[in-house]
């Protein structure tokens, strides 16, 4: 399979600490890749290496199937990026900031108006960026990243500093990029909820290690709901359920079963009652994706 982004054993060491440790990213074309991890997990460090801003201690980066080390210019022509806080020249206006970039990437002038409109900054185009709010700077950063019509867009926490309506707008904007323009998007965040409505693939990094990488559906499957039965004697119920042929886990004072099909739950309850157990509560527990994400990164932290 041809990947737009592919890293092999990508590692970055600061002193003794491995900020990124053997990370293998695989992103097919047209995906929106949610790159998730708590603060300090190594997202920004990874992204810096993807863009050649920082040299890996070991491992390699391939973008568009080409080694970044030997094809930097050719690759970067096709990549737009926004790393950490938005970058800008404070003494220039929004328009002038784009012009400084345009002179290097060489696109028609009209493209500047286009991207400013795309991020709804056309009214502030001639104001000095110094006086922009964080959200406006963030938008300008995205406009700059889109200026040369990249095929791969790498955004590091782009919703940082945006208000709720700004976040929704951004989501809408990003969501249409793959369909409309065939752009592949990498978007990092420390909140799953920020990307779960647009991401098609998710990578979770914690303490520098990639601990999960799959489609968002696969992640949802893990997050499937379960039924908790509060009973008088959880141990005995657990035994009985195993005899019945139903997998179950003992929790503190309840027994959890993975199935949520109405029929099955009904017959299991009936069976337990027939066996003489007292059932106090039948509760459905929905684990949110966010919970799964938290659990994933927590487990990693304990180790």
């Amino acid at each position: 399979m041809e990947y737009i982004v592919e890293t092999n054993q990508l590692t970055k060491q600061f002193g003794k600490e491995k900020a990124v440790d053997g990370v293998e990213i695989r992103i097919p074309k047209g995906e929106i890749y949610g790159f998730l991890g708590p603060n300090g997990a190594g997202k920004t460090t990874t992204i810096r290496m993807l863009l050649g801003l920082m040299r890996p201690s070991s491992g390699s980066v391939h973008l568009f199937g080409k080694d970044l080390k030997n094809n930097r210019i050719a690759i970067l022509k096709r990549v737009g990026s926004l790393v950490e806080n938005p970058s800008y020249y404070p003494h220039l206006t929004a328009y002038e900031n784009l012009e400084a970039i345009r002179k290097i990437v060489d696109v028609p002038r009209a493209r500047m108006k286009e991207v400013l409109k795309l991020v709804r900054l056309q009214d502030a185009a001639n104001k000095k960026v110094k006086g922009f709010s964080l959200g406006m700077k963030q938008r300008l950063g995205i406009a700059a990243a889109l200026l040369h019509q990249p095929e791969l867009l790498i955004l590091d926490e782009p919703t940082n500093g945006l208000d709720p309506s700004g976040i929704i707008e951004m989501r809408k904007l990003i969501k249409q990029l793959p369909e409309k323009y065939g752009i592949t998007v990498v978007i990092s965040s420390h909140l799953l909820s920020e990307v779960d409505q647009m991401a098609t693939t998710v990578g979770v990094i914690s303490k520098g290690k990639m601990i999960f990488q799959d489609s968002i559906e696969a992640m949802r499957r893990i997050a499937q709901a379960s039924i908790h039965l509060r009973v008088n004697d959880p141990k005995a119920v657990h035994q009985a359920l195993l005899v019945y042929g139903q997998k179950a886990d003992i929790k503190e004072n309840s027994v959890a079963i993975q199935t949520t099909a109405d029929e099955e739950v009904a017959s299991i309850v009936q069976y337990l009652v027939e066996q003489g157990f007292a059932i106090y509560r039948v509760e459905e527990e929905k684990r949110s994706l966010e919970n799964i994400f938290l659990e994933m990164t927590k487990e990693e932290q304990i180790r």
Partner: protein, 241 residues
Amino acid sequence: MLSIMRSEWYKLRKSWVIWLLFIPPLIGLFLGQISMGDIGEANQWIIKLVMANATYALLFLPLITGVVAGFICRYEHQEGGWKQLLALPVTRGKVYLTKYILVLFLVLTMQLLYLGSMLILGAIQGITDPFPWEIVWRSILGGWVATSPLVALQLWMSMIFKNFAAPFSINVIFTLPSLLVINSERFGPYYPWGQPFLMMNIGGEGDNFFFIPWEQLLMVVGGSFIVFFFGGYLYFQRKAV
């Protein structure tokens, strides 16, 4: 390369840094105005220029050069400019070279402004002697050549330090001693920060095209240029942003 130059020039010309270039020539004009050296028979221009060149080349030329080099990096340091610039399809080598050439160009501009200020000075004071063009050109160009290694070092330092004061202080620390060092027969010729003065000192040795021996030009100016330029170049290649 040309496109990077256009972008750099655009960023620069939208800032007020360019106005700094007028300061040293204006100071030269002022100092020339108040200095009342009168050696009698010699060409009046030469007397004025010897006086004005000394302060200009010893102090203001290297100092303002450092400020300009600092500024050309400052707007990159300020709000993540480096990472935006270096994630564009540019090589670091070209970015470095462009910034270096741009500062050199500004220094040359400043030299020419200084020349202009001297002509104005003469007009104000009503000097009627013929203007010694040949000598003056040699000193203007010589001062420029002698500043080129200093520009490289200042650019290097400005790329390392995010804060503006650090490279400026380093510049001052090396510039001030040249006031003393140039008086030393033994060390003067070897001190890079003294070279702009020596190469603009029109009263100096007159046999060469420039006002210092060719060996000194090659060894001291050329040598320090190579060390400073490639030091900065290699540093920038590896800099993590």
